[in-house]
């Protein structure tokens, strides 16, 4: 039976090939010895070594890390507060839609809007403006995830805490927060990965002296794709994939309880 229906798996493998071929080529070429971008001459890890010795890349990496961590912290706090507010005190579908929409806004529209806003406020562009911008759209993702989690947990838990003598604030920290912890971790990891490789918004809202890693890569690519870029992209890809896997596992394991 397996052999008879084997051809049915062809579309599956075809789709997977389509999805993963570019990535496979990227990783493969990052180990190319030669600096000719399209011809394979032999295995080498020299491009990974060159990454570490490039001050531009290291600065970009540092900036990206600062932005990702700061934006994640802000997004988790704001997103959680928003989700709890929506779940507990507000039954308006319109408000809920407004709260979640920044997650699916076109990056370009958001970027232009933010740039206009910062310019009008005479706000000097720099890492802090990127942090604010990233926190904005990441908060929408956190809200969506935490909101989903709050839907699943029994809303009488907080009432039970109150009935047993706890204050509203106490019940939030002792009962609500631990119950939504998996969603907070998942939201934080997602925010971190989104911010890590975000280009368009960072490009618009950044100052000239503080490029983030995607901006550094972009400026390098303008003069042609070097194997160094391949190596860098491979590292970014692996980091993001790893974080997403951790986030997924975290949500799944906790949901079974």
């Amino acid at each position: 039976m397996g052999s008879k229906l084997g051809w049915l798996k062809l579309p599956l493998y075809g789709a997977l090939l389509f999805l993963y071929l570019p990535i496979a080529v990227l990783i493969f070429m990052s180990f190319n010895e030669s600096d000719a971008p399209f011809t394979w001459t032999g295995f080498s890890t020299r491009w990974y070594g060159e990454l570490i010795s490039s001050p531009e890349i290291l600065t970009g990496f540092r900036n990206t890390l600062i932005v990702a961590i700061a934006a994640t912290i802000i997004a988790v706090v704001l997103g959680t507060l928003l989700a709890v507010g929506l779940a507990r005190y507000q039954r308006s579908a319109a408000l809920e839609a407004i709260a979640l929409t920044p997650a699916i806004f076109p990056d370009l529209a958001l970027a232009i809007g933010l740039l206009t806003l910062f310019t009008n406020l005479n706000y000097a562009l720099g890492l802090d403006s990127v942090i604010i911008s990233h926190a904005l759209f990441c908060a929408a993702f956190v809200t969506a995830i935490v909101r989903g989690r709050l839907h699943q947990i029994d809303s009488s838990l907080e009432q039970a805490a109150a009935d047993l003598g706890d204050t509203a604030v106490g019940a939030f920290f002792r009962i609500t927060l631990p119950s939504i912890k998996p969603a907070l971790i998942a939201g934080a990891l997602l925010s971190f990965t989104l911010s890590l490789d975000e280009f368009v918004i960072a490009f618009f809202t950044n100052g000239p002296s503080t490029p983030t890693l995607p901006i550094v890569i972009y400026s390098m690519v303008r003069f042609g794709v070097s194997p160094e870029i391949n190596a860098l992209a491979t590292l970014v890809l692996l980091t993001s994939a790893l974080i997403i896997i951790i986030a997924q596992r975290n949500l799944k394991v906790k949901d079974q309880i």
């Binding site: 029994d154 009488s156 009432q159 039970a160 009935d163 204050t167 912890k181």
Partner: protein, 344 residues
């Protein structure tokens, strides 16, 4: 001397919807009291108002002469066992039960002692380090119960505590609840839609409908002397025949049935309430009809007989006397046993 708990003229609306309508009720200390009624009758709203989880529009609730409504939920000497149990999923059984005592700021050894004692009472001491997700339905229910009684409330409120359990476990837990109430010496107020449960467990029952208390009585009183047609219909199996009182009898669908003395005036519309077990089958009777079907319940069998009324007459019969379906049965009863209610 006023009652232990008194509820006076309580009202609550949800917009246009009336949940509780000018309701007054008195409950005694150490009583096992049941709030019974169909869904949407306001019984759960009343329970939540007692717990402080629901605000009311008007009225008073006094516990030992103290105003209860002015206290927030976390300050009331009242605990609620939730229908969903609402166990904290990230805490162990022990931590769930100790939660309320920790909020009181009691010394550590007192918390440990009281928690362990209650867990022993509900036979869950061996499971104290488990998470709620590892427990069966009956065990969860006992944790919820332990968590509420460990606080030694003056009143324990139970919201449909047994509805999530299967039938066998349920009757065991009914006994358990009764025993616990006796041991703990706490007033229990239980909400249920299951009249059998209320009848078997409670000292007194308040039957509610559309936000109002229809009758407050002991289970036996309520079964024997229902105050209205609604009560007669809700409590137990019953035959309710709608007709008219004449000088000496009761006319239903052109048939004349004997009645005992009644205060209802001749000529008025009334409902004759006849329990299935009050009717006997014989060679002659007040009314006759054909046996349509019989439902076997083990100890007894319920017969459905078509006497030409707008409904089949239900008669309880012991197993070895069940007639063959299709035979004509003659029904009689002691007219003094039947209740006549005004049908206004």
């Amino acid at each position: 001397m006023s009652a232990f708990l008194s509820i006076e003229n309580l009202s609550k609306n949800y917009g246009q919807q009336i949940a509780i309508k000018n309701l007054s009720l008195e409950i005694a200390e150490n009583e096992f009291f049941a709030l019974l009624g169909p869904s949407g009758c306001g019984k759960t709203t009343l329970l939540r108002a007692l717990a402080g989880l629901e605000s009311v529009d008007a009225g008073e609730i006094r516990l030992q002469n103290q105003d209860l409504l002015s206290l927030p939920a976390n300050k009331r000497p009242v605990n609620l066992m939730f229908q969903s149990y609402a166990l904290f999923p990230h805490l162990t059984v022990y931590e769930n039960v100790a939660y309320g005592l920790r909020r009181e700021g009691l010394p550590k050894d007192e918390i440990a002692e009281r928690t362990s004692k209650v867990l022993r009472t509900v036979s869950l001491l061996d499971q104290k380090n488990r998470s709620p997700s590892q427990l069966s339905g009956g065990q969860k229910q006992r944790v919820a119960l332990a968590r509420a009684i460990v606080k030694r409330p003056k009143i324990l409120l139970l919201d449909e505590p047994l509805s999530a359990l299967d039938k066998k476990v349920r009757s065991e837990m009914q006994l358990e609840l009764k025993r616990l109430q006796h041991e703990a010496g706490i007033t229990f107020i239980l909400v249920t839609h299951d009249q059998e449960e209320a009848m078997s467990i409670a000292d007194r029952i308040a039957l509610m409908d559309q936000g109002e208390v229809i009758q407050v009585a002991t289970p036996v009183e309520m079964y024997r002397a229902p105050k209205t047609k609604f009560v007669a219909d809700f409590i137990g199996e019953n035959n309710l025949l709608t007709g008219q009182i004449t000088t000496s009898s009761f006319m239903v669908a052109g048939k004349s049935l004997p009645i005992a003395n009644t205060q209802l005036p001749s000529g008025s519309n009334a409902v004759l309430v006849l329990r299935p077990e009050q009717i006997t089958l014989g060679v002659s009777g007040f009314v006759a009809g054909k046996l349509i079907s019989s439902n076997f319940y083990g100890g007894s069998t319920l017969l459905f007989i078509d006497c030409g009324f707008d409904q089949l007459i239900k008669v309880t019969c012991v197993l070895d006397q069940v007639p063959v379906v299709g035979t004509t049965c003659h029904l009689s009863w002691n007219p003094a046993d039947a209740t006549l209610l005004s049908d206004g």
